[in-house]
Amino acid sequence: MNNAQNPIARDNGLVVQEMDNEVLVYDLDSNKAHCLNDSAAFVWRSCDGTNSVADIVKEFEKNSKGKVSEDFVWLAIDQLNENGLLTSGVTKPFAGQSRREVLKKIGLASLVALPVVASLVTPQSAMAAGSCACPAGNPAPCAALTPCPNTANCNPGGVCAP
């Protein structure tokens, strides 16, 4: 049975690509790509609403991924939550401590790779991904082409350029 306190992995609006020791998650709503290392991916998959943090610790160890603490799992949950990969906000228990401090504390004690979620914003449209071209004399498209030089003017050569 689901417990409101237990974390639940989000499954809507995501495209998931499984890899050997990582999982790539593409969030269609936020246009962000997230790379979960093996530890973070395991925790994410375990967030089914029935598993508590203590259960996830047990599952982690049962799957021969090494001995970890609840703080270790919370560290993963904190990052998953921050990146919108859980269905509802989860209150992190690291009262008064920064993630850096927690990382340091867990990192020194852990032989297992710390959970890491790396993220990157992706372009909103194919046009933005592909080109800085624009119809000469018409400034409108330049502002939408995020990777292009920061200008609102389409030059006579038909490119958004400084």
Partner: protein, 266 residues
């Protein structure tokens, strides 16, 4: 008002060009064929999902790509943008292939990708290798098939003027000393390079997941077909060594990449 239409198929994508002016339609059709390097066939005209509409009006041509209104521009100036739009439509919706915004060369049997946005220096890096005798595949797109192999898209290198980026000239790879790629080849190396003046080239090898994440922004079909796009990018990342680094002058970086290829066990 009369409406003229030409319908084409390229890389499995069917698109129509519509105009109220027969001459504009003919010119636009020629631009489209040129944009796709002749990989385009005219098919029987009918309703297609992708429409590029060029309506001749008093001050120029009113251009619409689907429902996106790009306003009125005189035709010669609009032609370059139209050319880009045609390529992007095909690149975004290509069947069984994923187009990545990339420069591609083959150097001593190693296929190298240089992903990048416009102005990131893809063509500059490609040109450095072509000058050294590399086989040229593309300065714009890596066209990836279902095996993860890259196909040639050998348009002339579009080399920008050193000070005025709006000026560029088409330079055939052969005139720089290179040869043209003709067959699909597996990808061996990917260099994600960011130009930073006077920076040192310090390549950091990415994990397959990191590599996939960093390649995603350059895949044209990411929004329209994310699942298939990730599947094919994964095939590239699964096989290739992917490095990320800042870079300074292209000539020096090309030499360092060549040294790296000679040193590392690929």
């Amino acid at each position: 008002m009369a409406e003229y239409r030409a319908t084409f198929r390229s890389y499995g994508v069917e698109f129509s060009i519509l105009s109220n002016d027969r001459a504009i339609l003919a010119e636009a059709s020629e631009v489209a064929s040129h944009a796709l390097l002749g990989n385009v066939v005219e098919i029987e005209a009918y309703e297609t999902q992708h429409k590029l509409t060029l309506r001749k009006v008093k001050n120029g041509i009113h251009f619409k790509l689907g429902s996106d209104d790009h306003g009125v521009t005189p035709w010669p100036k609009l032609a370059h943008f139209f050319d880009t739009c045609v390529r992007l439509v095909v690149a975004e919706f290509a069947v069984d292939k994923v187009f990545i915004h990339c420069g591609v060369v083959v150097w001593k049997g190693q296929t190298i990708l240089f992903p990048g946005d416009s102005y990131s220096g893809k063509t500059t890096m490609v040109a450095e290798f072509v000058k050294r005798g590399a086989t040229y595949y593309s300065d714009e797109y890596a066209i990836i098939d279902e095996n993860g192999d890259v196909h040639p898209f050998v348009r002339p290198l579009s080399i920008r003027h050193k000070t005025d980026f709006s000026l560029r000239h088409d330079t055939p790879a052969e005139s720089l000393g290179g040869t043209l790629g003709r067959h699909a080849v597996p990808v061996d190396l990917v260099f994600l390079l960011q130009y930073v003046r006077n920076s040192r080239f310090r390549p950091a090898k990415l994990t397959a997941g990191e590599a996939l994440m960093h390649l995603m922004p350059f895949a044209i079909s990411l929004r329209s077909n994310p699942k298939f796009t990730l599947l094919l990018l994964n095939k590239v990342c699964d096989r290739a060594n992917v490095f990320k680094s800042n870079r300074g002058q292209s000539e020096k970086v090309a030499n360092k990449i060549i040294d790296l290829i000679d040193k590392i066990d690929l």
